[in-house]
Amino acid sequence: MKGFLPEGEKFLHIQIPERFTRETMYGLLSRTIDNDLQPISNEIHFDFRNLRFIEPTGITILSNLFEWLLVRNVEANIIYPEEFGREKYCPIKYLDDSMFFAEYLGGEPLSEFSHVRPTTLPLQKVSYSSSFQWLQNVFVTWLAGRLYVTRESVDGFRVCLDEIFNNINDHAAEDTGCIFVQQYPRNNEIQIAISDFGVGIPHNVKNSHNPFLNDAEALYQAAQKGFSTKSTPKNRGVGLDNLITSAVLNNKGTVHIHSNNGILKCTNVNNKVEFTPKLAQGFYPGTLIEITLRTDNIENITEEEFSWD
């Protein structure tokens, strides 16, 4: 991809919203993808010049969208401001530090002053076949180092991602996930955003079980323990449940899942998982999972004698 300014009307020009979050992404997506789930144009110019704020999950969303367009042979171009701030709250600087522009503008960040922040695990595309090594060698190493704890102490976090990658491998047509991780040391939190550009969870649920469910209902169904689309014979329908149990029940974090026209929010209320399904304002191609985990809730991994009782 190459960034340049638009000169004519032969292409679709799309402004990235001032505030880009998983709530505001739907306007951008609906201007990019038509009702038949096809790209609206073969050439799209994404204009970042009005962007004032982007949340970490927004980086995963943009990456997922660009990957979705690339596999459909769309020429997606980036228009960026000629000058941007060097302060850490500048969204263009944040995108540049996160290696977003390096990924989609040919290998180099926009600015020579950009660098990966210590609190960021920059944007990565991870295939299933390399996911175990990535989790062990990159994710666990980085997180244990950031939190000054042993590698074993963050294994609960790693298992959350194990479940997502195994889900991607079982269900998505493409076995690659875009992943981005941000630490918030002052809040004792890390936020993990991971997305695939497969057909989406509601699509699979409606195909295999009930075509009359809406996408929010289908997402809620998929998160219930033992519910399986049986996309593979090994699938027993506990991957999403184990992710939610680990993140929400054990860690007291939160999980948001956006897939097709559905959104599912999972929060801990009085030590129980509360599910809040709702219909989205638009369509998400694939599945986006945002996990917020408490870093002050890390349980020490202790050996324990096994007993069936």
Binding site: F132, D155, R158, D162, E163, K234, N242, E304, F306, S307
Partner: protein, 103 residues
Amino acid sequence: MGLTNIKVLDYVNQCYSNSDGHVIFDLINDEFKAGNRVAVYFDEVSALNSSFVNSAFIELLDTYDFNFIKSHLQFKNSTQQINSLIKDRFAFEVKKSKELVTN
């Protein structure tokens, strides 16, 4: 009836996928068929995911009843996360199959 020790990382590089789990399943199944009990050792493994547990252990329920599994299978050098996931998965699958029988 003998007791066979299986140290998982002697047979798989990691406990991650359904395929990894299936390697362990085959080892246990062979020992059960030979009339032996099995102790599975989790040295250097501190946490498991559900795909591995399903393929390595839960699929034994397709062939053996739960009481047989409890009396022939034990886990050693495990952690609270490993124990909790294995017991939770067995409890759920046993309850589900009982509901299928009674309904």
